[in-house]
C-alpha cells in the first residue's frame, strides 16, 4: 500500500477545499440556512406537525441529505475531473499507485468534506429549530455511508464527464429532482397511493427515510431496508469503478 501517495492526494484535495472555502463550505451552508428560514420558520409555522414533529424539524434530515448528496458528488467529480481537464492526470497515471489507493484518497477527501459540511448544517439547523436525535450512532452511520457512496458516485461522474456541462448534468438533472421527490420536504405517506409505489424506485427515498428515522424514529420504509438499499448502491458504485479501472475507460487510451 502506497500510504504516502494516499496521504499526498488526500491532503492535496483537502487543501483545495480550504482554498475554495467560500464555494465548498460557506455557500452550501448559506443556501441550506435559507431553506430553514423559508420552510422552517416562515411557512413551516403554518404547516401542521407530522407525526408529532414540527415541520421545521421534520425537513432537517432531508436538507442535510440534499447537501450531502450534491456536495459529495460535486466534490468528488470535480476532484478527478480537474486533473483530467488540465492534464495533470499524467502524473497520477505514471505514479506507482493502485486504483484502490487513488479511489481511497479522492473519495476519502470528498467524503470528509461532505461529512464536515453535514455536521455544520446540522449545527446551523439546531439554531433555527428544536432538534432531537434518537439514534446518534445510526445518524452518524448514515451520514458516513451516504457521503462515501455518493462521493464514489461523483468520482465515477468525474471520470465519465468529458466537459464541464456533463459534470453539472447528472447532479442537476438527476440528483436534485430525486432528492426533492425523495421526501426531503414531505413524508411519502402524504402522496396518493399510486405515487407512493412509484417513489419507491427512487433510491434517495431510502436514504432520507433512514436518516430521518435516526433523528425522530419516524420512517417511510423500514430502517433495515434503508440500510440495505444504501449498501446496495455503494456496492454498485464499487463494481462500476472496478470495471472503469480494469478497462482504463476515459482515463487511458
Amino acid at each position: 500500500m502506497n500510504l504516502y501517495a494516499i496521504k499526498a492526494i488526500y491532503l492535496f484535495e483537502m487543501h483545495r477545499t480550504w482554498r475554495t472555502i467560500m464555494q465548498s463550505v460557506i455557500s452550501p451552508v448559506i443556501s441550506t440556512s435559507l431553506y430553514f428560514v423559508v420552510f422552517g420558520s416562515a411557512i413551516g409555522g403554518r404547516i401542521p406537525e407530522i407525526s408529532g414533529v414540527s415541520y421545521g424539524a421534520f425537513i432537517v434530515p432531508g436538507l442535510i441529505m440534499l447537501s450531502l448528496l450534491t456536495q459529495s458528488i460535486s466534490n468528488a467529480s470535480f476532484g478527478i475531473y480537474f486533473p483530467k481537464f488540465v492534464g495533470t492526470i499524467y502524473e497520477l497515471l505514471s505514479a506507482p499507485v493502485s486504483y484502490l489507493e487513488i479511489v481511497i484518497a479522492y473519495v476519502g477527501a470528498a467524503a470528509t468534506k461532505s461529512i464536515i459540511l453535514g455536521v455544520i448544517i446540522l449545527g446551523t439547523a439546531a439554531l433555527f429549530v428544536p432538534l432531537r436525535i434518537d439514534h446518534p450512532f445510526m445518524m452518524l452511520l448514515f451520514l458516513v455511508l451516504t457521503a462515501v457512496t455518493f462521493s464514489l458516485f461523483g468520482f465515477i461522474i468525474g471520470i465519465w464527464a468529458d466537459g464541464f456541462e456533463k459534470l453539472q448534468l447528472v447532479p442537476l438533472m438527476i440528483i436534485t429532482p430525486l432528492t426533492f421527490l425523495g421526501g426531503s420536504f414531505y413524508s411519502i405517506e402524504m402522496l396518493p397511493p399510486f405515487w407512493q409505489k412509484v417513489t419507491l424506485f427512487n433510491p434517495v427515498v431510502y436514504l432520507i427515510s433512514g436518516f430521518r428515522w435516526s433523528f425522530f424514529s419516524l420512517s417511510d420504509v423500514h430502517i433495515g431496508i434503508s440500510l440495505a438499499m444504501t449498501a446496495a448502491f455503494l456496492l454498485a458504485c464499487i463494481l462500476l469503478l472496478r470495471w472503469i479501472f480494469k478497462t482504463g475507460y476515459r482515463l487511458k487510451s
Binding site: Y4, A5, A8, T88
Partner: protein, 308 residues
C-alpha cells in the same frame, strides 16, 4: 545486468485505428543518455507514454529495470520520472507544495532537504511560495522538471525538453541532466532538434512513422552515415561548373564563389585526388579549402528519405 528500459514487440494502435507504434524493440542501457529522434507525429510521445503507464500498449512487453511495467507497475514506476511535453501544472498550488506532492505520490517519505536541493538547482528556490499560475512558461517548465526529480528517479524521461525554452533554461537543464548522468541516472529524451541529440546523447534512436529506423552510438552513426563536404573557395567567381569536371557532380554556391564536392568517407577511393588534379587541368584556382562532416540533420533527412 538488465537494461534500464527494455521494450520488445511493442505495438500501439489507437481506437481510431491509427497505428502509432509498430513492433518497437529497444534496449536502453543503465546510465546512458539516449536521444529519441524523430519528426512530429513519429510516435515519440506515444512510446514514452506507453513506458510510463499513461497509454495502454496494444501488445508487447516493457521492462523498466527488469520489472514488467504492467505486472510489477509499482516497482517499475517508482524508478521512473517523467517530464511531459505539455506544461500541465496545478495552477493554484505553490511550487513547494506541488513538488512535495509529487514525491508523496511516488511513495517516498517527505525529505525537505532534497526538494530544497532540486529547487535551488533549477533556480526555483526564490519562487517556492509562489503560486504556479503566476510563473512564466520557462519557470513552469522548471517546476515540471522539479516534480519529476522529486522522488529521485533512476530513469528520467524528458519529452521535448527544450521546446519553447529560453537559452538560460536550456543551459540550466543540461547542467542538471549532466549532473544526473554522473550520479548514474539513465536519461531518455525526445527531440526533433538534431543538434540537441548531437550535443547530449550517447546513443541515438531514430523513429519515424511508428518504427525505430535505427539505434546507434552517436559517433558511430555520424561515422557510418557521415558524408563529408569539400568546399573550394575560388579565386574568381564562376557562372557555372566547368564542363571538364561534370563527372564529379559538383555544386556551385549561389554567389558562384565556391565549388562543393560531396564524398563518402567510408569508401576507399573518395575521388579527392582526382578532383584536385582535374581542377588544376581545367585551370580552376582556389584560395582556400574546407572539409566538413555532415550534421545529424542531414543524416536524418537522408535516413527518412531512404525509407520512403
Amino acid at each position: 545486468m538488465s537494461s534500464a528500459i527494455s521494450v520488445s514487440g511493442l505495438y500501439k494502435t489507437y481506437a481510431t485505428g491509427f497505428e502509432a507504434l509498430k513492433n518497437i524493440n529497444l534496449d536502453i542501457r543503465h546510465g546512458e543518455i539516449f536521444a529519441l529522434l524523430g519528426p512530429n507525429g513519429a510516435g515519440k510521445t506515444t512510446l514514452i507514454s506507453a513506458i510510463c503507464g499513461i497509454v495502454n500498449p496494444t501488445s508487447g512487453t516493457i521492462l523498466a529495470d527488469g520489472h514488467d511495467i504492467i505486472k510489477e507497475y509499482r516497482a517499475a514506476r517508482s524508478k521512473i520520472g517523467l517530464v511531459p511535453q505539455e506544461l500541465t501544472t496545478d495552477a493554484f498550488e505553490t511550487v513547494w507544495n506541488t513538488v512535495s506532492f509529487s514525491r508523496g505520490l511516488f511513495g517516498k517519505p517527505a525529505k525537505p532537504a532534497h526538494i530544497e536541493k532540486i529547487l535551488k538547482e533549477l533556480s526555483l528556490w526564490e519562487k517556492r511560495d509562489s503560486k504556479i499560475i503566476t510563473l512564466s512558461g520557462g519557470m513552469k517548465r522548471r517546476v515540471m522538471i522539479a516534480k519529476a526529480l522529486s522522488h529521485e528517479p533512476e530513469i528520467l524521461f524528458l519529452d521535448e525538453p527544450t521546446a519553447g525554452v529560453d537559452v538560460e533554461l536550456r543551459r540550466d537543464m543540461w547542467n542538471v541532466v549532466r549532473a544526473l548522468r554522473e550520479s548514474g541516472v539513465t536519461i531518455i529524451l525526445t527531440t526533433h532538434y538534431i543538434e540537441e541529440a548531437q550535443q547530449m546523447a550517447d546513443r541515438i534512436g531514430v523513429i519515424s512513422h511508428g518504427e525505430i529506423i535505427l539505434v546507434e552510438e552517436k559517433a558511430e552513426l555520424m561515422r557510418s552515415l557521415g558524408k563529408k563536404q569539400l568546399r573550394l573557395f575560388l579565386q574568381e567567381k564562376r557562372g557555372e561548373v566547368p564542363e571538364a569536371l561534370a563527372r564529379y557532380e559538383l555544386e556551385l554556391s549561389a554567389d558562384g564563389g565556391e565549388l562543393i564536392y560531396h564524398y563518402d568517407t567510408q569508401k576507399d577511393r573518395t575521388g579527392i585526388t582526382a578532383l584536385l588534379k582535374d581542377l588544376d587541368k581545367a585551370g580552376v584556382r582556389f584560395k582556400d579549402i574546407q572539409t566538413r562532416e555532415s550534421s545529424l540533420e542531414e543524416i536524418f533527412v537522408n535516413l527518412v528519405r531512404e525509407r520512403k
